[in-house]
Structure formats: C-alpha cells, structure tokens
Symmetry: C2
Subunit: 337 residues, 2 copies
C-alpha cells in the first residue's frame, strides 16, 4: 500500500473543512485506492502543524507559531499540496509562492483560491507541465458546481460554442432578495453581511470581480484560452435600483449576474454583467446562494448544471474530488506505485 | 502514431449518426491523441461494410448483404466496438451477442442500446473485468445528459443519497404538451408519433420501461448496485387524464415521469412513476424532449443537470465522448502504445 502525504496551505474556514473531510475519508481511500492518505502538514499565514505520521482531527485547533511558508510545506515531504489561502487576483495572493514551489518540485497540487490562477495561470500550467505534476482546480472554478468537469469530461469531444454562468453566490443572493422580496441593495447586503457570506468590503463580489476570476479560470483552464483580466468586460450589480428591478418584474424578467464566454471568429469573448431571464428559463429560478452554468456545444446542444451545496463543506468536497482524480491516476500508474 | 480500428454494430439512425460524427472528428483524434482512428466495419442485422483501410462517409449508404454478426466484427480486427442496435431488455436484444464476443476478446466497448446492459449487466461487467476491456455506456444512460459521469467524476468522493431523473424524452414531451396546451394523452401521442419520436407501439416509453432501463443502468453502473427489473416499481403515464392535469395545475404543480433511487438502510430503492413539482423547481420547467437529473450527496448537496441535445446527434456525441475517454486512457498507457 502506498502512502500519500497531504499538506494544506491556507487554514481558514475552507482549509479547515478540507482537513476534516480528508481525515473522515481515510478508510474510503484505503478501500478504493489501497492508499494510506495522511495529512502531514497544515498552515495559515503565521502558524501551522506538522507530523510525518499524520495529524488527527483533535490537533487541528492548536496551530504553532512560526510554522508556515513554502519552505515549511517542502520540509513536510508532502506528495500533494492543497492550497486554500486568501485570494488576490491583483497580486496572486499568498498562494502563488506555495504553488510555484510545489509545482516546480513536481508535487501534485489542488488549488482552491482563485488569485494565483488568475494572476499567473499560464506560468503555473507551464511549471506543472515541466515537472509532471498534476494541477487541479475544481475548488477555484465554482467549487461544487461542475464547470470545467463538464467541458473536459461530460462534453468531451464537443466544441464549446458558448458558456454562461451564475458563478457568485453572494450576488445571486442579493439580486434574488431584491427581486423576490423587493428590498433594496443596501438592506440585502446588510443581511448577507450578517449571515457571514458577504465581506465587510463586498466589492470583490458586488462589482463582479469574483465572477470574472471564475470565468477567466474556466476560459483558460477549460477552453484553453490565454485571457487576462484586461480582456474581460466586467460590470457588477452595485448600481441596480429598486425601480429597475420593478421594471424587469413587470416584463416577467429576472436579473442575474452572469459571466459569459462566446466564441466569435475563433477567439473567445468574455464578459461579466447583468442578464435577464424569463421565468421559464432555469436561470430565472436559481435561488439564494445557488449557482448555475449553461454550456452550448456543437453536438450535444445545451447542457445546464445547477449546484447548491452548503459552504465550506461543498468547496472542501470539490477540492477532494480533485484528490480522488489524482489518486485514480497515480494509483493506476505503476511508475508511482 | 497508433491506429485505433472502430466497428459499429447496429446501423439505424443512431449508429449511422455515430459513424458520420466519428469520421468528421478524425483530424481532431490525430491532433489530440496522436491517434489514427479508422472506421473499419459497420453492420445492421443483415448487411454491412468492411474495409481494413477505413470506410468513408460516401460508402455508408450502400451496405452489402450477409455482412453481419459477432463473427463479422471479429474478422474486422476492430479495437473498439460501438454497439447501437435495437434495445430489448427482456431478451438482451441482438446487442448481447456482440457485447459478449467483444468483451470476451478484450475489445474496448461502447454501448448505446440499453437492453443487454439491463438483461446481463453483471455478466458483461465481469467479462470486461476478466479481459481488461473497457466497458463504457454514456449513450445508454440518458445520452447527452450527464448522469453516471456526474456520479463517477463530478461528484467523486461523495456519497450519493438520492437521485431522481426525467430520463425519457417521449413521456416528457407528452406530459408537457398535456400540461401546457391542455391536450389529451391520445392527441399528444399522435403528435409525437407524427414527429417520429414515439413508436407505433409506444408502451416502452409510456408505461415507464425506458425510464426504468436507464434508472437500472444508472444504479448498477453508477452506484454499484446489482438490481434487476424485478426490484423496480414501475408506473407510466398512460392513465393520466385531463382532469388530473387540471387538478395539478390548480395547485400550481407540474407532473413529470421520474425515475428515482433512494438509499434506505444501506440498500437502494428504485422506482418509476409520476411526481409533481412546484413551478419554482427546475424540474417543473423541463420542456419538450429535454431531460434532467437531480443528485443529492452528503457533501455537495444538490446537483442538477439538464440536457437538451438534438437526436440522433446528441446520442452519437455521448457515445463518442466514451471513445475520447478510452483514447485518453489507452493513449496514456505505454502498454498499449
């Protein structure tokens, strides 16, 4: 039986949930892959834990100062890195250094935070290709909602003509509340902040940047484009008024913040902004914090997926789906057995 | 560059569409997999064509008598069999002999017709396991709608708690027409028959058997159960009256013929019958010949997929998605290079 040593960098809500879910699935990894999966290191920005024999659930709330950084992960001897740090697409965020280090060293890598993928996606892909490491990113591409999965697996062989997605839970909650309960943007935002799913500074969500990040990752890693944020047209929901909502309602239309990719003359055009849908369209009925994607291909027509997992568990599960895919390949490959 | 020789057994609308789509994708197979994909044989129940150098589109309408049967496919030296014959779950249909022969010989196999999988699924799985052949069946499990894909790939690692699906296009068309246009069952059926998507004897669809077949394949090949048709409760739509539709409408409910799988105390209960949905449920808005599936898992919550490809192209594309997955594995495996 082979041992797979896992490290998690970034230990907020999602990193912590990923650790717990991983530990709870150890028996399954054993049964399905004949794999001994061990959590050997976790770290936040300033503290962490390390144990070559494997960490246990009850230790995870007592991180030790000073154990952090790419060198710390290196030392742990991890085979797989799960990166779950804060996302910053303008700088790449703290995740970038972890990812560069892991991929350069040939370590299979599961990315949850979007920043580094948006900032340096091409470089990270090249590093992975160069070292033979696997680079997985379900958690960064709308998490439990299948997106790149659909393009690369379920619709494999087809040409993608168009994609549109409701990819951001916070803005969908806000627009849904404004539409169905006729409350204003500020009231809805206050509710979301009280509920803990909108930031004190909500602009990354409300101005469309989070949707734009997911869209760009979907384009570059799903459709093989090489777009940067400058190639995207990005509009948010911050200026949607009650009057506008009222007017749409009278026409039987429901507004959604949508990221879209369209193939035009061989290039892909990417855009984030509000689109409206009649009530008979599945997109009109995406409620609260749910997400959805519609993919149009040449041979399979229209495929829609709708996801409504609870966070942070659903994102943790998306990241560990990537681990399953890594184990499927690594366990089947006699070279790494 | 490796050559992959493909044979198609069963050459009605779907088999024919699969052949054309395969031929149109040869350049792509070359580019993506460095594979020379050749269509070396096709056959219906009494006639066929064979050419070791590869058949071309313009030859496919002139089949020669006497070229048919498992022995004929054997002779063609095909590496991969695509089985697209008529489906009969009570006998296994003509596909069963082709599948037994191909899987015994270690030939990778793509199944489109459901009959043999329902009748002898376990035996076929065992034959594949014994010979090392790959057994793929996207085309038989609701075709362009991702179903087993979702369970085995997009939701990998999660425990499936419940599945429900609108899996049959004909009955969805009928119920949709009866509900939205207030026409009777007989009128709707006549329309579907005129449109060519309901059989002269429509009972396989209307009595729920086609849905039951897909559900059983989904359970046995997606969830690893070992159910037979006797384990299923099957009800159709043939006795739905206009009065009943009227009454549901007054309550704001939309009826759908649904196949469902529920995990109860470790076993899976399978059922086909009418369920009703409020208008806010995506299932209520599945129109015409579209299909849908809802999968509930422990860690990712609810995932819904909706598919609306045009037949027979969409089913051909589902079968060739399986071919892509076969090529991905075979082209990456040095043993078969």
């Amino acid at each position: 039986m082979k041992t797979y040593k896992i490290a998690i960098a970034g230990f907020g809500g999602v990193g912590r949930a990923t650790a717990s879910l991983l530990l709870s699935r150890r028996v399954r990894y054993h049964q399905v892959y004949n794999a001994n999966v061990r959590l050997v290191a976790v770290c936040g920005s300033r503290s962490g834990l390390i144990n070559a024999d494997g960490l246990e659930e009850e230790q995870l709330d007592r991180l030790e100062d000073g154990l952090s950084g790419p060198g710390f992960i290196e030392e742990s001897g991890a085979d797989v890195l799960i990166e779950a740090g804060p996302s910053d697409f303008r700088t790449g965020g703290p995740g970038l250094a972890y990812l560069r280090s892991a991929l350069s060293a040939g370590r299979d890598t599961i990315v949850i935070s979007k920043g580094a993928l948006v900032h340096s996606g091409k470089q990270l892909r090249d590093l992975a290709r160069g070292s033979g490491a696997m680079l997985k990113l379900s958690g960064a591409a709308a998490a439990a909602l299948p997106t790149i999965d659909l393009v690369n697996h379920s619709l494999k062989g087809c040409e993608v003509l168009e994609i549109e997605g409701i990819l951001n839970a916070t803005t969908n909650f806000l627009l849904d509340a404004m539409t169905t309960r006729r409350i204003g943007f500020d009231t809805a935002l206050h509710e979301a902040q009280q509920g803990g799913f909108a930031e004190a500074d909500p602009r990354n969500d409300t101005e469309g940047w989070d949707t734009a990040c997911k869209l760009l990752i979907l384009a570059n890693f799903g459709l093989g484009t090489d777009l940067t944020m400058d190639d995207l047209t990005v509009e948010g929901i911050q200026s949607v008024t009650r009057d506008r909502i009222e007017a749409w309602s009278k026409e039987g239309l429901v507004p959604k913040l949508v990221g879209s990719l369209t193939r035009v003359n061989g290039t892909v055009r990417a855009k984030v902004g509000i689109r409206t849908y009649p009530l008979s369209d599945p997109f009109a009925n995406i409620r609260g914090k749910d997400k959805a994607i519609r993919i149009i291909t040449d041979a399979m027509g229209e495929t829609i997926a709708i996801g409504s997992g609870k966070e942070p568990l659903a994102t943790a599960a998306a990241a560990l789906k990537d681990l399953d895919h890594i184990l499927t390949v690594r366990a089947a490959n006699p070279l790494s057995a």
